[in-house]
């Protein structure tokens, strides 16, 4: 017997989808059962992750990609992730501003998500939100994040194609971007390429990618680097073409690699889920009972050390 919520999501009911994503984000316990049921309807959408530092033009690029995909009659879901303020827990979610023109298009569903801090489980809730949009029947799902936190890097890593956006003069910033971001990029875009230094950034990127040639060896995908001016729709069609090339590569690359990649994805997802589940269970129990705060006090007072405190807190919960 299919639950009401699942039925509505599959039918593409926008309000049901919106509420379900909120329930996921708010960690409503009942949502788990719905997601279990929904999983059977996922796996059809193609997921594109887009990341880069603030101000490089990610939202503008997403807006343009959506426009191009809509011209091809493809439906699109967008998840735009913005950081939560560590001080107040609040967030300003402003990515929609650049995507206004799609508001009235029924083939497009745009949702903003806040990172909600360390214990928010960004990776997992975004993963679940992707599943929801997938089950809703969207052909493409675009996930946009600021690639500075590990969580955010993980989010795009879970995409089929990961696009990294930089702007001229960002050489050092690329280095400074979260370790591993260059390794996970399938396509690199130098946006605002009318600015000085675009070619320099391009060659710097090329060098960095060549340095990791081991990964990009014979017969493997070689990440293209493209110049772009997303705001003027220059280079966007080409970028999309590379995304399609990468998609074809994934589908064709002697089956084996595709299978390995899928398996790796499932492995990471499951690991993430187990971690999230444990943290949620154990951590919320510890904070609610006050044990956690007591342990903090005892460390501060010098009566205990973090290692023993951790043992004392966690071991009784997991030693069965």
């Amino acid at each position: 017997m299919m639950s009401d919520a699942v039925e509505k999501v599959i039918a593409g009911d926008v309000r049901a989808v919106a509420r379900l994503i909120r329930d996921i984000d708010d960690r409503i316990p009942e949502v788990r059962e719905i997601l279990k049921e929904l999983y059977a309807y996922t796996g059809k959408a193609y997921v594109i992750g887009i990341t880069g530092a603030p101000g490089v033009g990610k939202s503008t690029l997403v807006d343009q990609i959506v426009r191009h995909l809509r011209k091809k009659d493809k439906t699109v879901g967008v998840l735009a992730v913005d950081p939560t303020s560590p001080f107040s827990g609040g967030a300003i979610l402003g990515d929609r501003v650049r995507m206004q023109r799609h508001s009235m298009d029924e083939g497009v569903f745009i949702r903003s998500l806040a990172t909600r801090g360390y214990f928010g489980g960004l990776t997992q809730s975004t993963r679940s939100a992707i599943d929801v949009l997938d089950a809703m029947g969207k052909d493409y799902i675009i996930v946009e994040t600021v690639g500075v936190g590990q969580d955010e890097v993980d989010v795009v890593k879970n995409s089929h194609t990961t696009v990294i956006v930089v702007i001229p003069g960002m050489g050092d910033d690329i280095q400074a971007m979260k370790a591993g971001i260059l390794e996970v990029g399938d396509i690199f875009l130098v946006n605002k390429s009318d600015r000085d230094g675009a070619d320099k950034t391009l060659s710097e990127l090329r060098l960095m990618i060549q340095m990791s040639q081991k990964k990009y060896g014979e017969g493997k995908w070689k990440p293209p680097i493209l110049k772009m001016e997303a705001a003027f729709d220059k280079g966007v069609a080409e970028a999309l073409e590379e995304i399609e090339n990468h998609r074809k590569y994934l589908a064709e690359s002697n089956g084996g690699q595709n299978f390995e990649r899928k398996k790796e994805k499932v492995r990471e997802e499951l690991a993430e889920m187990v971690k999230g589940f444990l943290i949620q269970r154990v951590f919320s129990e510890l904070t609610e009972s006050g044990e956690f705060e007591k342990a903090v006090e005892s460390i501060v007072e010098g009566k205990s050390d973090p290692y023993s405190a951790c043992d004392n807190l966690v071991l009784p919960k997991i030693d069965k």
Partner: protein, 129 residues
């Protein structure tokens, strides 16, 4: 969601309000300028917001604010609270409230009062007090 409607191009106030909500721990979706009431409502539905704050400094509030309420109604959305703020003449406020705008904040309203009003009057997930 903090929203700007129509031709009104002044969004400094809206941005300050958005910032105040964020600093009070809210997640705030900002719509950007020049939105139609239809666009605002679709965005609010997709984002599943609890409240829409409409900012108006160009005098079209008597048409645009009620339009937002109308379209919400047409879409069967009754649980989203709609508030307004900006340059709104005193005599319009009772009329707007009668049409369903829950509260109107005039120039000079303190940010902490605006935030406090929301904390006290808007319950998450459409729950009623």
């Amino acid at each position: 969601m903090v929203a700007k409607l129509g031709l009104d191009g002044h969004d400094r106030g809206a941005k300050i309000i958005a910032r105040a909500y964020r600093d009070a721990g809210f997640e705030v979706v900002y719509s950007g300028l020049h939105q139609t009431p239809e666009e605002i409502v679709q965005a609010a539905i997709q984002e599943d917001v609890d409240m829409i704050g409409l900012s108006s400094l160009a005098g079209a509030h008597m048409y645009l604010f009620p339009r937002v309420l109308e379209i919400l109604n047409e879409n069967g959305v009754n649980e989203i609270v709609v508030c307004g703020g900006g340059i709104i003449p005193e005599e319009d406020i009772p009329k707007l409230k009668k049409l369903g705008v829950k509260e109107v904040f005039k120039p000079g309203s303190l940010l902490e009062d605006i935030v406090k009003w929301v904390e006290e009057n808007v319950k998450p997930r459409g729950e009623t007090n």
